[in-house]
């Protein structure tokens, strides 16, 4: 691959428990306008558009087609959609730019969790024969992983609480976050996970613009170059996997080049405190790495957008000169089943 591709703009909504006064497109549109305004691009200038969302959140089929109204899909645009977190839409857009078919791409994703029972909704992504009929909710599955970590001596409840406290304290500086500052650690939701160990449930959207080569330098003072990006998947069945480890995250990071040189920042899509423990180990992040300065998914976890936001937050730190080499991670599926890792760098200063 000899084409350099960078994140040149990032925008996100304020993430809130509910945005019921807005349809999905109404929630999304300001973010699309903001990310275009950052670059001075108009919709017609964008070479490729890719989005991520899930119909199960809203309970309506093909809901992403209505969200397209916020982009302005006439005259016809080159467009694609993944029924996944927007981080995977970004991967598709990155591939499209690599081929040379486009020089710029708009990537967006959104999720409104407020209409439905999110913990139950997420059970529908599980193995339909052996697992989904039992309706194990998302917190329950994360709790199984947390207990496995505790049994293995990798963490304990006070250490998990410290992850939660650090994340929400860092989120104080993030005006978009849903949970900020001091948040009570609360009682058990599914033991050993307490409310504080779990992400807030909320609605939100995010968008980024990618650009290739010189186009990126024209659009952004300090582009966040994607040095590598890779995603890997593990066995669907939880009982086959070692829940205390994330070999797929490690492999994705290796293929993305994350281990070639140290990173200074890591934005991890760790929705539960226990998942940060797993990812720190798998991604070989030591205490010198600034982890989730945005507050991470524990501060705002709009399903389908939270992974794209990790890439956006990491890129924005590069844009601002606060990071020279950042790792961004996104996940999907129960207990970190699927993992995507991107490495972002700014030009040397």
């Amino acid at each position: 691959m000899n084409r350099e591709i960078a994140v040149v703009a990032f925008a996100q909504t304020d993430h809130r428990r509910t945005s019921e006064e807005l349809s999905e497109v109404e929630m999304l549109m300001p973010v699309l306008h903001e990310v275009l305004a950052q670059t001075g691009l108009k919709t017609a200038d964008i070479g490729f558009t890719c989005s991520g969302s899930s119909d199960y959140l809203a309970g309506r089929a093909f809901s992403f087609t209505l969200a397209l109204d916020g982009v302005g899909a006439w005259p016809p645009i080159s467009e694609s959609h993944v029924e996944m977190d927007g981080a995977w839409a970004l991967y598709e857009a990155w591939t499209k730019l690599l081929t040379g078919d486009a020089d710029t791409a708009l990537v967006y994703s959104y999720g409104k969790s407020s209409p439905g029972p999110l913990r139950d909704v997420l059970t529908r992504q599980l193995d339909p024969y052996y697992v989904a009929p039992l309706w194990p909710d998302s917190v329950a599955l994360a709790a199984l992983q947390a207990q496995a970590l505790i049994d293995a001596g990798d963490t304990d409840e006070p250490a998990l609480a410290a992850v939660a406290a650090r994340s929400r304290t860092d989120a104080s500086a993030n005006s978009h976050a849903q949970l900020r500052g001091s948040v009570p650690h609360g009682g058990y939701v599914v033991r050993p996970l307490r409310t504080g160990d779990c992400p807030p449930i909320g609605d939100g959207a995010a968008a980024v613009i990618l650009a290739a080569g010189e186009r990126a330098r024209e659009l952004c003072d300090r582009p966040a170059w994607i040095r590598g990006i890779d995603h890997r998947i593990e066995a669907h069945s939880l009982g086959v996997r070692d829940l205390t480890d994330s070999p797929s995250a490690r492999l994705a990071a290796e293929r993305a080049g994350a281990f070639e040189r140290p990173v200074d920042t890591a934005e991890l899509h760790a929705a539960f405190t226990s998942q940060e423990i797993v990812l720190r180990k798998a991604l070989k992040l030591d205490d010198g790495v600034r982890v989730n300065p945005s507050g991470g998914a524990l501060a705002a976890n709009p399903v389908m957008a939270a992974g794209l936001i990790r890439i956006g937050e990491a890129a924005a730190r590069v844009h601002r000169g606060e990071s020279d080499r950042a790792l961004a991670h996104a996940t999907s599926g129960p207990c970190l089943q699927q993992n995507l890792v991107a490495v972002l760098e700014g030009d040397p200063r």
Binding site: E20, E21, L22, S23, E24, V25, E26, M29, L32, H33, Y56, A58, G59, R60, L68, D69, G70, V71, G72, A73, W74, S114, P115, G116, P117, R119, D120, V121, R124, P128, Y129, Y130, V131, A132, P133, L134, W135, P136, D137, A140, L141, A143, L144, Q145, A146, Q147, A148, D151, Y188, V190, R191, P192, L193, A235, H236, S237, L238, G239, V240, L243
Partner: protein, 323 residues
């Protein structure tokens, strides 16, 4: 801003799924109180069994029978069971490695409280009274006190699972995975305004500030320009049929005689056609350009159908852009 509308929205789907040879044997086995696993070429036994090796993707067909007893490998205490979960009293979720298996099965563990559960504890299957060939034929696991009877390893995992043909009388070939999710649907600002106006027997669209087109029903954004449409515009009540189809299949729970006509109708003043049923005219006399008006039934929040106004047909050029 008036309060947005909200309504319950229930999504229910009985998903009918066929099963392959391995899943069929496993699920039929559960019906017969037999737990089957599958052997990989490196000698591991996977329970629940799968048809392809999760590591090598090699096809797996070598079925073995494992014990209905096992060991908890991790667990989580669920003090507030949710609808459709295996037990309605507090229970532990557990991954259980059955004796003879190398992998763990997820299920519920019935125990008096979290203090009665620990990783490494011994459990056994509690069978459901009525079994149909589904994972729920295991009602749950329950604590099982099997003080060691011999000198073997106490975790039981070294027990050699016995070969099994996987053949049963009347094997199951599929499952019905029923699901129900309850939502509270809100249509958002623009469509709330539209629906509220309809209740007053008015049609309200929104105009795009950029291209000046009027959309009805409004969705809050201009799909051409990608900007918010905020200026409300009253359109109709009459309109023109731009295109139509003749419906010959009776919809479930719909009390309308077939055949009937469903049409795109461009309301006067609107730049987008909405769709509605045409009544008050034989189905085979509906035509492009027909002028129609809404018919409201008593107490209804929306027009029941549209009927001819009796005006002359609209000239093609007046609606050609709306096709």
């Amino acid at each position: 801003m008036p309060e947005v509308l909200k309504a319950p929205l229930v999504v229910e789907f009985p998903f009918t799924r066929s099963v392959g040879p391995v899943q069929s044997a496993f699920l039929t086995g559960l019906r017969e109180r037999v737990v089957l696993g599958v052997r990989t070429s490196d000698g591991r036994t996977l329970v629940p069994p799968v048809e392809y090796d999760p590591v090598t993707a090699e096809e797996l067909r070598d079925l073995v029978e494992v014990a209905p007893t096992g060991t908890v490998t991790t667990w989580a205490w669920n003090h507030a069971p949710r609808r459709d979960q295996p037990l309605d009293t507090p229970f532990a979720w557990a991954l259980v490695r059955l004796d003879g298996a190398d992998t763990a099965l997820l299920h519920a563990l019935d125990a008096p409280g979290p203090d009665a559960v620990h990783t490494g504890m011994r459990v056994r299957v509690r069978w459901a009274g009525e079994r149909t060939g589904a994972i729920t034929d295991i009602a749950c696991f329950e604590p099982y006190d099997d003080s060691p009877k011999d000198s073997g390893p106490d975790d039981g995992s070294s027990a050699e699972p016995a070969h099994h043909t996987g053949r049963f009388e009347d094997p199951i070939t599929g499952i019905v995975a029923a699901a129900r999710l309850d939502y509270t649907y809100s249509p958002g600002r623009a469509q709330t305004a539209y629906i509220n106006a309809l209740a007053e027997r008015r049609n309200v669209g929104e105009r795009c500030p950029s291209c000046r087109k009027v959309y009805v029903p409004p969705r809050g954004a201009c799909p051409t320009c990608g900007v918010a449409t905020l200026e409300q515009v009253e359109v109709g009540p009459s309109g023109t049929v731009t295109t139509f189809c003749i419906v010959n299949i009776k919809a479930k729970n719909l009390d309308i005689e077939v055949p009937y006509v469903y049409a795109h109708i461009a309301l006067d003043g609107a730049d987008l056609a909405l769709h509605a049923r045409i009544g008050g005219i034989p189905y085979d006399q509906v035509r492009m350009g027909l002028r129609v008006e809404p018919v409201w039934t008593q107490g209804s929040r929306f027009p029941d159908h549209y009927r001819p106004t009796g005006e002359p047909d609209a000239d093609y050029d007046t609606y050609r852009e709306l096709l």
